[in-house]
């Protein structure tokens, strides 16, 4: 109680103005345990891997003519993988609302572009925190200067992205390292400026009736590294300079959602296209329980040349997903998804569930299970690293 009073006092001193914008602080502390049933490399079968996380956010909304900010810090300590032990500034952003329609922000930020569920194809701004999880939904903070203008029905944003974040990799011999290890050398960059290169991006978004669509452009350092093999086990990541144009769009009609993400990329050898087309339909109040069941079908296609471009497992894949939401007071939900590669038969299962157990205490269940893999594919190297994990998190928040 005393802590929140002091925090509130500090907040009110910093702000002071009579028209009070929203400000809040959140803190989360979590413990995660992963269970790996299979032996992999030096890792024994039936192996537990535990880690702890700390996350804090302090935020204040930017009102007209005012300044707002978002500070978000994250840290994980992993008992087994010393590269998974890491910390990051997820956000360190100052926002100025110059007018009703123009906002400028500067610092470490996070952008999300896209509409699909299986994979976030066009989401390019932030580097993936690849040691966190396999779903590419944890993102490293990206230094940026962003200008956003809002008009009726249309938004336009321009980004200057100075500074590049390298993709993290698991420690040598650790679970999910794919028997690979980063070589001792620095990553290679096509640009002489290396990670100091200034990248640029722009995005136009519109919403007309049932359609939400975005058109985006990016030029600069690819977030996806190409692996250069020194020898069989050591790899140096190489970051090409690329240009990318992408489209993401959704049509919403009744219970049906039609989704599309498509991109064309230049810079990894030959130019290529990739796209995901999908459908989501929700059944409400199934079996009279009040819960919703969403069916997701998405097809992923990627034309890239696997020798010139960074590897992707999703080149000709069908994704089938089921999303159950209880609509209960505990916000229980479960998402199950299966990737099935139509060319090589690879199958990969993902499961994510969560539930609030008490006011400040949530529990999450997750599973990533390669069911069937083929040689020389990204999943093959982690075929024995399928796992189930349980995470318990304490969630605290204070706000005015």
């Amino acid at each position: 109680m005393r802590c929140s009073y002091r925090l509130a006092l500090l907040a009110s001193v910093l702000i002071g103005a009579p028209s009070v914008p929203w400000a809040g602080t959140e803190l989360r502390a979590g413990i995660e345990t992963r269970y790996f049933p299979n032996r992999s490399g030096i890792q024994p079968s039936g192996d537990f891997q535990s880690s702890g996380t700390l996350w804090v956010l302090q935020e204040r909304a930017a009102t007209d003519g005012g300044i707002g900010w978002s500070f978000e810090l994250f840290a994980r300590k992993d008992q087994q993988d010393n590269q998974r032990t890491h910390a990051d500034i997820r956000q360190g952003l100052l926002k100025v609302q110059i007018s009703d329609s123009v906002q400028v922000s500067a610092g470490f930020g996070r952008e999300f572009w896209g509409v699909t569920e299986s994979f976030h194809l066009v989401n390019i701004i932030n580097q993936i925190d690849a040691v966190e999880d396999l779903d590419a939904e944890d993102l490293l903070g990206q230094p940026m200067l962003k200008l956003q203008t809002r008009w009726p029905g249309v938004t336009w944003a321009l980004y200057a992205l100075p500074g590049f974040r390298e993709r993290p990799m698991h420690a040598r011999g650790a679970r999910l390292s794919g028997e690979l290890a980063l070589s001792r050398q620095r990553p290679g960059y096509e640009s002489g400026a290396e990670d100091k290169h200034i990248d640029w991006a722009s995005r136009v978004m519109t919403q007309i009736g049932s359609i939400d669509a975005g058109l985006s452009y990016f030029q600069g350092t690819s977030r996806e590294p190409r692996p250069l093999f020194e020898d069989e086990r050591e790899v140096t990541p190489f970051y090409d300079q690329i240009r990318q144009v992408s489209l993401d769009a959704q049509l919403t009609e009744g219970r049906w959602l039609l989704k599309l993400e498509a991109l064309r990329r230049w810079g990894h050898g030959q130019a290529f296209s990739a796209w995901i087309a999908g459908l989501e339909v929700t059944s409400y109040n199934i079996l009279g329980t009040g819960a919703d069941l969403g069916w997701v079908v998405e097809y992923l296609h990627d034309q890239r040349n696997p020798f010139d471009a960074p590897p992707t497992p999703f080149d000709d894949d069908l994704f089938l997903g089921l999303r159950w939401q209880a609509n209960d007071v505990s916000d229980s939900s479960l998402l199950v998804g299966l990737f099935h590669d139509q060319s090589n038969g690879e199958r990969f299962l993902r499961l994510e569930g969560q539930r609030r157990m008490a006011d400040r205490f949530t529990v999450a269940l997750e599973a990533s299970l390669p069911l069937e893999t083929q040689e020389n594919t990204p999943f093959h190297s982690i075929r024995n690293d399928g796992f189930v994990s349980l995470t318990a998190t304490l969630n605290l928040g204070w706000h005015r």
């Binding site: 929203w22 509409v115 209960d328 928040g397």
Partner: protein
Amino acid sequence: MKIAPILLCFVATLSHADLAERGRAVAAAADRSDLGFRTSRVTVRMEIADRRGRTRARELELRTLERESDQVGDKTLIIFRAPADISRTALLSHAALLDDDQQWLYLPRMGRVKRISGANKSGAFVGTEFSFEDLTAQELNKYDYRWLRAETQQQPVTDVVERIPRYKRSAYTKQTVWFARSHGQPLRIDFFGRNGAEHKRLHFEDYRAYDGIWRAHRMHMTNLRTGKTTTLHFGDYDFALDYTPRDFQRAILDAM
């Protein structure tokens, strides 16, 4: 007197139209009293109780932009504040009168904005006994009306009006609304489900007028089938805020 039965039919029909008009007039007075509020913001605490009385709480901020014409509904932005794990999750709604609402969900973990289907207005809103249908403003043209009776024997004196949803996908076949004669606002609504049986009951309490705009500060919903209840406690309303339509566009979620 063969003409009499025909006359009787004629009179009965007139009476029916009369009741419809009178019912609509009562509802229209309530609707009219709300005109011109333009913008509002209020904090809502939701107390969800199971049949044994054990409660869980949620807290949210509700911002409203009054509709531009009587062909559409209001625009609302709900920002969840508590419990902490869903804090900053937001739901933007553009209410339509008879069609599905347009809705967007902001998920703070990834900063993702998802357009979701507005077709499920009858589902429970975040585990409470209120559905989205129950929460969205009771626009006049969404219903057909029939005045039933006046209850004058006890205080407060009320007009009891039956209303039937004209919009699609409602969970209700009809509702009975008690409008207070004193301030014209609803005091109680009984909701009747598909089979005609009473499903839920809603009581409005602690009405306060903000410059002629009436707002209830306590809404208590009981699910008569399960015995579960949800009570909404409203804080002080702020009106005359400088919100514009731009603050209720999808882009406001992208900027969060």
